[in-house]
């Protein structure tokens, strides 16, 4: 067990190093000077050169990478050229905002996908199954910007019961909770259908297994068969898929955050990348990698818990 966690920790460190190096390289080889972006099109070449000198951008790339690496290791994430402040000052707020959004959406997705997936998959081809399957295809195939606009036009413009933007400021007319409703709904709508179909497919397969027949012929009621014998087995396969949604919810929410002007992590990453704000992008990438690898570790641990065949291998 310790060996397993040790190995996983090493692979986490290694992946973070690899990704940070790749991001550095990507910025190195994309056209355009960082100092020019910071100063704008009307600055003289002299000013640009001066800034480049001051930021140390004319040193060799490995020197800068090493410097960044040692700084990061000691907790100093550098200065954002876009937001003109320490990265540490902005990233945690943004992350916190996104985490609220992601946590609420994730909780809803997990509960609802298990519920609907099991309900659909326990009797393949039933009316309930068909209804759920069709609904999940429809919601998943509508892109977030479309459903965002659609929901906003109903609840904001027509009914006027929800705010159209979510800047997360409690000074205005709308409470923070009200501001979260639409972004969360769009994310849940988009992601839920996919996960439901995963759970459903796994449940359908489990229901054809001989041990389900054993449970029925033991005299258990349908309810007991589902809850005691099918549920846990049906969760083994989709478990990793469900955890992968965390990555989407944290780093892939750019569209939702943009639509609702939500001050989150995804939007920050997008803006920073467009402005070649390397310090911010590096910090954000590291965090994204951290989330991905950590959810994988959690996934493996959960998998072991659910599947005794792995546990006692």
């Amino acid at each position: 067990m310790l060996a397993f966690l040790g190995k996983r920790f090493l692979s986490l460190i290694f992946t973070m190093l690899a990704v940070s190096a790749l991001v550095f390289a990507a910025f190195e080889f994309t056209p355009g000077q960082v100092a020019r972006k910071v100063l704008g099109p009307f600055a003289t070449q002299d000013q640009v050169d001066q800034l480049t000198e001051r930021m140390g951008l004319n040193r060799p790339v490995y020197e800068r990478y090493w410097e960044w690496l040692t700084n990061t290791a000691s907790g100093n994430l550098g200065t954002s050229t876009l937001y003109k402040t320490e990265v540490n000052n902005i990233i945690w707020d943004r992350l916190g905002n996104t985490l609220i959004l992601a946590a609420v959406a994730f909780a809803i997705i997990v509960v609802a996908s298990i519920f609907f997936g099991i309900a659909a998959g326990m009797r393949e081809g039933s009316k309930l199954d068909r209804a759920i399957s069709v609904a999940s295809i429809v919601t998943t195939s509508v892109p977030e910007f479309a459903s965002g606009v659609f929901l906003a036009s109903i609840f904001v413009i027509w009914l006027g019961v929800l705010p159209g933007t979510s800047p997360l400021e409690s000074s205005g007319q709308w409470s923070i909770a009200a501001q979260l409703v639409l972004p969360v709904s769009v994310m849940v709508l988009y992601d839920l259908g996919y996960v439901v179909r995963m759970v459903r497919a796994s449940m359908v397969e489990v229901m054809t297994k001989p041990y389900i027949r054993t449970a029925i012929l033991k005299g258990l009621s349908f309810r007991q068969v589902i809850l005691k014998h099918a549920l846990r087995n049906a969760m083994i396969a989709p478990f990793t898929v469900i955890l992968l949604q965390i990555n989407y919810l944290i780093t892939g929410v750019v569209v939702v955050e943009a639509v609702f002007a939500y001050p989150g992590f995804g939007r920050m990453l997008l803006e920073a990348a467009l402005a070649q704000d390397i310090a911010t992008v590096e910090a954000a990438s590291l965090f994204a990698v951290f989330v991905t690898v950590t959810t994988q570790i959690v996934g493996d641990l959960g998998y072991m818990y659910l599947n005794p065949r792995i546990r006692f291998a």
Partner: protein, 701 residues
């Protein structure tokens, strides 16, 4: 006609009332259908039978004859598309067709229970054994946790599982196949049901494990007075458990009666066909060919109007047999034996083929120098111990074996799973490389050459036939393509020449040449195995490696495939390595036999020497375990305790010492047994002197 007078008795046979008073299960004109897109498939048109308290009825027949359908219909579990289309099933006097779901639940698992074919998949992989057992009393008698636990532990002990307390918290995958099946049996017997339905409960288990499970079932049945419906394709296992036997063909019960009566005087031609298809006592390829039943079970929609067996029957009389459905008539003196055949009274009494009617010329058995010579062959796997692969140890899957097979002869390798026979086959084919010793094929060393590095000649010289033809033929390629590609690859000849050769190959394996255009799914299991054999022959190999080639097939088809293999070998003179766990087939087919245990050869010799005393104690145990399809053969069974030790815990002395019933003392644990040889090349690795080993009864096969 013989002493037993056949007569047609309408209604109840006179003998029936006297015997047993309390019927547990009655099927009255039961019909079972599946609703499919094509319409209604009447899988079982009309079956009647009665099972009394404590009685065991065996149901036999080829696959697709409706045995399992009937079993699940008894449990009233037919899935979404199946239904009872006619008649009644009475369980303990109550009509199951009229039961509500709640009533059904209350008898399933408590009054009637089931044991399944594949125990591993029948147990829930994520729930501990104990929990799965405890469910039964909790659901059916409202037992408390503590009561249920106590009951589960009692049952685990009753099915003779070692250390029930420890086993209780284990998960199914941590148990061996035999142990899993014991758990399933324990689960079925938790609530002392009056009826136990067993669907091929020992198929897929090793012969020694099978024997132990069958003994257990026989014991428990007597103890609890449980009635059993026992479904099997193996007539031998039915003989061990049942007092009555029913033979099913194409959904009909064509013959049914007390087991001794049916076996002594089988009166339906199909029953006779099944019996003739098993290698009979002491028969071998030199003295009596096996008789396969020609043709195959008709598809449900194409069932003949008259007797369903008529198209395959050698006694068929057109008109009388084919005009109208056949009535069941009672036969024999007890009036308990019934049969669905209009010509029963006219048929000659069934005679088992015996060694006396030997007709074939003896084969060239000792000719020539060996084709395959194995000297001290070893295959060890490295097992790493630590996180970084440091340390570790060697695990010997094959541990120094010496064997040889003469040109044109058959060498059979037998042993339980885990004995190393598959690893040996992998080394021969070059999938794995040996780690010691020699493997010589026609004088060329091949043991350390992986298959990619072998020259075309060597690749061509060794071809394989696998156990399961379904998974070895690519479903999207036509038979003709499969064969012609093998011919072109192995012999390097043109496409045009290969086409003629394909036709010739199909003829060799007795398939019509039109089969070249068919896809594997259009073929039956036996036909697919013929194609697999034809594919192996494509390169005109010197050595055919057949890994359990008939164990997935029905007995009637099995006989035909065995005959084909014998025939091909005689015509082509190829050497065959036959890996099998079925000793009666080995007895029939082999010239030499090697008995393997834990990677070592325990006994090797000519087939008649191995199958006669002196036996190695392991050989003796294997032979005693084989279920014989003859109720008159009574034999002492040697039940081996425990399973094969893992190769990592190989005993220091004799590998078999931990399970041996004839162990003589510490010498067995500490010293590697000497190889005792007799003239004629018979070798036995055992500490017991040959004279003493000789003093046992000979097993009839």
């Amino acid at each position: 006609m013989t002493g037993s007078a056949a007569r047609t008795v309408p209604g109840t046979p006179p003998g029936l009332k006297l015997v047993k008073p309390k019927p547990i299960l009655e099927l009255r004109n039961v019909g079972i259908s599946y609703m499919v897109r094509a319409g209604e498939l009447k899988v079982v048109p009309n079956v009647s039978l009665t099972l009394h308290e404590g009685e065991a009825l065996g149901l036999v027949g080829e696959s697709g004859c409706g045995k399992s359908t009937l079993a699940y219909a008894i449990m009233r579990y037919l899935g979404g598309s199946g239904r009872l289309s006619g008649g009644q099933i009475l369980f303990e006097g109550r009509d199951m067709g009229k039961m509500s779901d709640a009533e059904l639940r209350s008898i399933r698992g408590s009054r009637m229970a089931m044991v399944y074919q594949d125990p591993m998949s029948s147990l829930n992989p994520t729930i501990s054994i104990g929990r799965q057992l405890m469910e039964v009393p909790i659901v059916h008698s409202g037992a408390t946790e503590a009561e249920a636990r106590a009951r589960a532990l009692t049952m685990l002990a009753e099915v003779k599982l070692p250390d029930p307390e420890t086993l209780f918290d284990r998960y199914p995958h941590q148990l061996s196949g035999g142990q899993q099946q014991r758990v399933v049996i324990a689960m079925a017997l938790m609530a002392e049901p009056s009826l136990l339905v067993m669907d091929e409960p020992t198929t897929g288990l090793d012969v020694t494990v099978e024997a132990a499970v069958l003994d257990l079932v026989a014991t428990l049945r007597r103890k609890h007075n449980t009635a059993i419906v026992f479904i099997s394709h193996n007539l031998g296992t039915v003989v061990r458990i049942c007092d009555r036997i029913g033979v099913m063909y194409a959904g009909e019960l064509v013959e049914e009666g007390p087991i001794t009566e049916v076996f002594r005087d089988p009166s339906h031609p199909y029953t006779r066909g099944l019996l003739n298809a098993i290698p009979s006592l002491n028969a071998d390829k030199r003295n009596s060919p096996l008789t396969a039943i020609p043709g195959q079970v008709p598809p449900i929609l194409a069932r003949p109007k008259g007797c369903v067996f008529a198209p395959r029957c050698i006694y068929v009389e057109p008109g009388r047999c084919t005009a109208r459905p056949i009535e069941t008539q009672f036969y024999g003196e007890t009036g308990l034996h019934r049969v669905k055949c209009v010509r029963t009274r006219e048929l000659p009494r069934h005679a088992r083929p015996t060694a006396a009617n030997a007709n074939q010329a003896p084969q060239a058995e000792e000719t020539g120098r060996p084709m395959l010579q194995i000297g001290g062959l070893e295959k060890a796997y490295h097992q790493s111990a630590g996180m970084f692969g440091g340390g570790g140890y060697e695990v010997h899957a094959v541990d120094g074996i010496d064997l040889e097979a003469g040109r044109g002869t058959t060498l059979a390798i037998v042993g339980e799973s885990g004995c190393g026979k598959s690893t040996f086959a992998k080394v021969l084919t070059g999938i794995e490389q040996s780690t010691g010793g020699t493997v010589q094929l026609g004088g060329t060393e091949i043991g350390k050459t992986p298959v990619e590095a072998r020259d075309a000649g060597t690749k061509r010289a060794i071809q394989m036939v696998f156990q399961n033809p379904d998974s070895t033929l690519n479903p999207s390629h036509s038979i003709g393509y499969v064969l012609s590609r093998a011919i072109r690859k192995l012999r390097g000849i043109s496409a045009r020449a290969a086409r003629d050769e394909t036709e010739a190959l199909l003829k060799t394996v007795n398939l019509p040449t039109e089969f070249a255009n068919r896809k594997p799914r259009q073929l039956s299991g036996g036909q697919k195995q013929r194609v697999a054999i034809a594919r192996a022959l494509a390169g005109e190999p010197e050595l055919i490696l057949a890994d359990e080639p008939v164990s997935a097939l029905d007995v009637s088809v099995q006989a035909a495939i065995i005959n084909l293999l014998v025939d091909i070998q005689q015509k082509r003179g190829s050497t065959m390595l036959f890996i099998s766990h079925d000793l009666s087939v080995v007895r029939y087919l082999a010239d030499h036999v090697a008995v393997m245990y834990l990677g070592k050869v325990m006994e090797f010799g000519k087939v008649r020497d191995v199958f006669a005393p002196p036996y190695h104690p392991y050989t003796e145990a294997l032979m005693s375990a084989v279920p014989i399809a003859d109720p008159d053969v009574k034999r002492e069974r040697i039940i081996l305790e425990g399973a094969i030790p893992s190769p990592t815990e190989r005993p220091k002395g004799c590998p078999f010492a931990t399970r041996c019933h004839r162990k003589i003392g510490p010498i067995c644990d500490e010293q590697v047994p000497p190889e005792q040889r007799t003239e004629g090349g018979h070798r036995i690795a055992c500490h017991i002197p040959l004279e003493e080993l000789k003093a046992v009864e000979r097993f009839a096969f």
